[in-house]
């Protein structure tokens, strides 16, 4: 029985690697195409033939793309916007999730459902009232307008709450018996145990904020406030087609995000060491 199990497991291993390999390939193909397009001339891109590799790599597309529009300013705006949103979301979501997961109070279940309900609202229609609010606060075309609407995330609260629910209570109970207050438990026990999911939330908050397009488009007017997501769209308007520059800018914008993610992975899925807990 053991032998056949080993045989089966070998097949599954090979199968899984093939499966994974194919998937990974599908991830890479579009990226490769992006890079290739960024190195072509305009007529190559718009030409009618299926050309994947550029005839002559136009390396100068990159410095050109980064200078014809204020790319670095766009980039900085995105960094400030994303950094602030991540910090705020971590704070706001973890505190709310803790309340929902661990603290008892009347109406807890109903309030949580209410929170969840807000996830189902199409953003399309709240945009104009939210914009009016921003203007009345005098925040138009400034960082608070870019940051505040994303400062919290019910998705994040949901994610963290599910995770907190799964944490064994033993350590907390012990701490409570020792007389520790809620804040202490929150900061000293729950948060450190939650590094994987907090890192996960941070990564998702970062990538989704980086990608935000419609809202920044509405609340920013001047070039020096636009984030990179809007900036990239500026390369190709109705009358000026510059897909090669656009791809170059898009690739350039991706590199730092890639670095951040690669670096953040270390914290993403560390397992939780729970030695010494009685089953």
């Amino acid at each position: 029985m053991k032998g056949s199990q080993a045989g089966v497991s070998k097949i599954t291993t090979v199968a899984s690697f093939v499966f994974l390999g194919l998937l990974a390939l599908t991830m890479l193909v579009p990226l490769v195409w992006m890079i290739c397009t960024s190195l072509m001339t305009r007529s190559e891109v718009l030409g009618g033939t299926l050309s994947v590799l550029p005839k002559v790599p136009q390396w100068q597309n990159y410095p050109k793309a980064l200078t014809i529009l204020p790319f670095w300013r766009f980039f900085l705006n995105s960094v400030i916007m994303t950094g602030s949103v991540v910090a705020l979301q971590l704070a706001i979501c973890s505190s709310a999730a803790y309340a929902f997961a661990r603290l008892r109070f009347p109406g807890r279940r109903k309030l949580f459902m209410l929170y969840l309900a807000t996830l189902m609202v199409p953003p399309v229609v709240t945009i104009i009232p939210a914009f009016l609010l921003i203007v009345e606060l005098g925040w138009n075309n400034s960082f608070p307008a870019l940051i505040a609407p994303f400062a919290g995330s019910v998705w994040g609260i949901f994610l963290l709450r599910q995770f907190f629910l799964g944490l064994p209570r033993d350590i907390e109970d012990a701490a409570r018996i020792d007389g520790a207050g809620e804040l202490t438990i929150f900061f000293r026990i729950i948060l450190p145990l939650s590094k994987p999911v907090l890192a996960t939330l941070a990564v998702f908050a970062a990538t989704s904020t980086w990608q935000e397009f419609l809202w920044p488009l509405i609340v920013t007017d001047s070039m020096d406030m636009r984030p990179i997501s809007v900036g990239v769209a500026l390369y190709a308007t109705q009358y000026e087609l510059s897909p090669h520059y656009q791809m170059a800018a898009a690739v350039a914008a991706m590199i730092p995000m890639l670095a951040v993610f690669f670096f953040a992975q270390r914290y993403l899925v560390r397992g939780i060491a729970l030695t010494g807990i009685k089953e």
Binding site: G48, I68, L69, V135, I147, K195
Partner: protein, 432 residues
């Protein structure tokens, strides 16, 4: 890693971000600021900045900021008006003037013209008239263009065909398109098309008008009998047949990721296409590289039809809610003067509205193309968009009808009839 210190640093970061945002906002409020919006891409942005530099020099105590809007231009402007954050000066498409007028967001520039002594005779009368209403003026014309038929001389030469004459007919057009629709490498697939299907309303008017039809009645309030009238249906059916019956028009769908019909024209996949002067910058570039030789002809006319085309124009308007009306008007005037337009001619998106300048361009143009554009203006009518505020309704309903006929194989006449009824019903609802 998520120790208190990292938390603390992050909080500090956030506070700094907020503060810098606020401070940046604060410092700006001391000097008066003028904001200008347009829909420019990178090249045009560079040109406009230089134009603004001139103004900045003569107004050192003023801050002038250019704010290009990449997409959904009209939406963004209207939204900003609603939020009272509209730019002081903005580029306005002629087809949006009535809508903006109805929304009462435009400042009347007539008094400033007189006050600042602007000579309106420098402007082309047709372009100038578009933003005029009785005794008011809502925008200073920047540039304009009629719709014409572009054709690729190289493809004509290769096929040994003579270029279109200036009085060619619909039948001539179909014939030429047929001879230019070729399977070049004999693989059973057509590689080059005579023309391209253009399901956008903006290209239809010349065809419909030259067939003596129209979309709305003279008052612009009724569509039945016009949009679904004989002449209009015939014209639109003609366009439809180019793809469905004669198979000389490239599929509109392939266009999207190949740079649209411009991309197809530039790469030689399409021999003839209708468009405005805005294709010229891209074409000029490739002509220098000797890849495309463009010719321009008037849009063909049906036998015993009328020689007519449509005029598209853009002008500089001032927002009624601006805090500095005189300065904004001055800026709008500045942006429409000869010097600024001269700089734009380097790119050449459209014909400048300054008469003297446009004549200069024609004289200096070796290719003779500019003259064709200019001559066509004589036959150009202003679009419905410039006359009625419910233009988008007309546009959308008509496009829906055409799309249903093109893609779902519905009967065009029936679809247009339904569209006309819908438009009339909607207009009924809206009228007081």
């Amino acid at each position: 890693m998520f120790s208190e210190s990292t938390h603390g640093t992050k909080v500090l970061f956030v506070i700094t971000a907020f503060l810098s945002g606020f401070c940046a906002g604060c410092s700006r409020r001391d000097i008066p600021v003028l904001r200008v919006a347009n829909w420019a891409g990178p090249e045009e942005i560079a040109i406009e900045e230089k134009n603004l530099d001139d103004f900045r020099e003569t107004h050192p105590d003023l801050r002038v900021v250019l704010e290009p809007i990449p997409r959904d231009y009209k939406q963004k402007i209207l939204t900003s008006v609603a939020g009272r954050t509209a730019p002081d000066v903005f580029l306005l498409d002629a087809i949006n003037v009535p809508e903006f007028l109805q929304a009462e967001v435009l400042l009347n520039l007539k008094p400033f013209i007189a006050e600042l002594g602007v000579d309106i005779r420098q402007f082309h009368p047709t372009a100038f008239a578009i933003a005029q209403r009785n005794n008011t003026l809502y925008a200073l014309p920047k540039d304009f263009t009629p719709l014409v038929m572009y054709y690729n001389k190289k493809l004509f030469d290769k096929a040994g065909i003579r270029y279109p004459s200036s009085d060619w007919t619909w039948d001539d057009f179909v014939e030429l398109a047929r001879r230019l629709t070729l399977d070049l490498d004999n693989d059973g697939r057509i590689d080059q098309y005579g023309t391209v299907a253009q399901p956008q309303f903006s290209t239809w008017a010349p065809w419909v008008w030259s067939n003596r039809g129209d979309f709305l009645d003279a008052s612009g309030e009724k569509a039945t009998g016009y949009l679904d009238g004989e002449a209009t249906v015939a014209a639109l059916q003609f366009l439809l047949d180019l793809e469905k019956k004669h198979h000389v028009a490239a599929d509109s769908a392939v266009m999207k990721s190949l740079g649209g019909d411009l991309g197809m024209f530039l790469s030689g996949r399409v021999a003839m296409a209708v468009s405005g002067h805005w294709w010229m910058p891209q074409i000029k570039g490739l002509t220098e590289e000797n890849e495309v030789q463009a010719g321009i002809a008037p849009i063909p006319v049906p036998s015993d039809g009328e020689h007519v085309t449509i005029l598209y124009e853009a002008g500089w308007a001032v927002a009624r809610q601006t805090r500095h009306p005189t300065l904004a008007a001055e800026l709008a005037i500045h942006l429409s003067n000869e010097t600024t337009n001269r700089r734009r001619c380097a790119q050449g998106v459209a014909i400048p509205a300054n008469l003297a300048l446009s004549r200069e361009i024609i004289d200096q143009d070796v290719s003779g193309l500019e003259k064709v554009f200019f001559d066509e203006v004589r036959f150009a009518r202003e679009p419905w968009g410039a006359r009625v505020s419910h233009f988008s309704l007309l546009e959308k309903c008509a496009e829906e009808a055409f799309a249903a006929a093109l893609l779902l194989n519905r009967d065009l006449r029936k679809e247009l009839h339904l569209a006309a009824q819908r438009i009339d019903a909607e207009l009924m609802k809206r009228s007081p």
